[in-house]
């Protein structure tokens, strides 16, 4: 019943985007997001949209799958659009109760929504083309210069690793407990909210007990295998930049430069 939950949304493949170093992808994503917020003229939006479209094609991830990641945002998009439509001063084309709907609002709302959609598509492209493990390694690598100012880069990465390792195990366990309770007549799908919540307690209690027990065991096992934090630790799988990565860095820098130049003109 819970088995359809997956962590992340990695879509295995071997496209150009898949082969980019995860660090490159994170940095480029970051740069593009900044660009999205800095440059907000229609021409800029056109460039960013075309770029996103190009990435989507390059990724070889089916369009349906990609657009599926927009689904949870649907209501937020609609809401954002309506707010801008109703609250932007300008030339009114209709009047609704106390709200005046303007052409400027229409345009503004459209572009803000476009910005959100592009943001989400670009971030999804990162998670669709990068396995969670690589993301973890990349995050640790990118954050490690910040260790000096107290950012716990290694610890964050270790937490992500352990979460990736244990989420499936815990899901299986929850499933087992739920089935055991259902076999005893518990009902999680019908009845009032209060009733259903009450039925969740007998799942959470054993689950929590088991999680603490696991954490205890795991800490012991990690200690037995000489874990003592990130200090002096090496890694079997090291990340390597390829020529493709330099190309991506260069391309992004060029794009930002051109957009900035156009802005200043």
């Amino acid at each position: 019943m819970l088995s359809n939950i997956t962590i992340g949304q990695y879509f295995p493949g071997n496209s150009l985007l898949h082969r980019l170093d995860p660090r490159t992808k994170i940095v480029v994503l970051f740069a593009l997001i900044v660009a999205l917020f800095l440059f907000d003229r229609p021409a800029d939006y056109l460039v960013m949209s075309l770029l996103t479209l190009a990435f989507m094609l390059l990724s070889r991830v089916p369009l349906r799958t990609l657009l599926g990641s927009l689904k949870p945002l649907w209501w937020i998009l609609l809401f954002t659009f309506l707010i801008h439509l109703c609250s932007t001063p300008g030339e009114e084309f209709a009047h609704l109760w106390v709200f005046s709907l303007t052409f400027e609002g229409l345009a503004h709302g459209f572009f803000i929504c476009l910005r959100l959609v592009l943001l989400l598509l670009l971030s999804s492209l990162l998670t669709f083309t990068t396995s969670p493990l690589k993301l973890t390694d990349a995050l640790e690598a990118l954050l490690s210069p910040l260790k000096r100012i107290g950012v716990p880069a290694h610890e964050l990465a270790m937490m992500m690793t352990i979460a990736l390792r244990f989420v499936p195990t815990l899901i299986e366990e929850t499933d087992k407990i739920m089935k055991a309770q259902q076999a005893r007549g518990a009902d999680f799908v019908t009845g009032s909210i209060v009733r259903r919540l009450k039925n969740v307690v007998p799942i959470l209690v054993p689950l929590f007990i088991s999680v603490f027990r696991r954490a205890d065991d795991l800490a012991m096992a990690m200690e037995a295998r000489c874990y003592h934090g990130g200090e002096g630790r090496t890694q079997m799988k090291q990340l390597h930049f390829l020529p493709l990565d330099y190309l991506a860095w260069g391309g992004t820098a060029l794009l930002l430069a051109v957009l900035a130049a156009l802005w200043l003109l």
Binding site: P132, L133, T161, I162, L164, R165, P168, T169, E172, R213, R214, D217, L218, M220, A221, M222, E223, A224, R225, C226, Y227, H228, G232, R233, T234, Q235, M236, K237, Q238
Partner: protein, 284 residues
Amino acid sequence: MALIEIEHLSHVYHAGEEGEQTALDDLSLSIERGEFVAVLGSNGSGKSTLAKHLNALLLPTSGACRIDGIDTREEADVWRIRQKVGMVFQNPDNQLIAAVVEDDVAFGPENLGVPSAEIRRRVDEALKAVNMTEFRSYAPHLLSGGQKQRIAIAGTLAMQTEAIVFDEATAMLDPEGRAEILSIVQRLHEEQGITVVYITHFMEEAAAADRILVLDHGRLVMDAPPREVFRHARELRALGLEVPLAVELRDRLRAAGVALPEDLLTPAELVAALSGKGGAASGD
């Protein structure tokens, strides 16, 4: 110098507090390099407590525990000790750390700061030694219990430990997984000379060892080869332990008047002895 030397070791949980619990009581023993030692004892007899002393996860309340001559209380040497003695715990689910098999095997050497290429080599070798090479890129939750324990063994092999302590590592496995682990442990012991300390509830597994230690209420009550230990079936039962099936059968047949050697241990020996008898009986 023996690999593991324990002298007058006592361990008291919550010493001096309410609920004080003496788990090990004046234990002295030593284990040589290359030995295969099984540890028996009923629940709460102190087996896990002993195991955790062997790689400094617990420290003696009094007495001493030395690994290859290093006292486990030397704080600075704790990583050297853990590199010499690896551990495989009971629950297969709670000791694998990484989300991919080969990354998990690499965890120990990564902590020790081994260079990447060398880790790669060790991981490949360790996975091969436990016949898990083809599962290298699996997620641990997709493996069976026995396979997970094999990965845990590979994880200690990759640290190049001299000894591996198994704390009821087969308790949660099905018979198939149990047999699998025991045969791998025996092979590692024979081929690579790994010292094995094998805590178990399964007497057939204990019978495969060179030597058996029996604990009772934190004391060492027997320390002898399996043949010798299982001669004392009655004492073992009094300690809440079983005996192997062949031994059980031996004793019942002896009680029924069948003449069998009192140190008979394995099913094969039983069969041999009885088929000899069969010839004699038909002569009656």
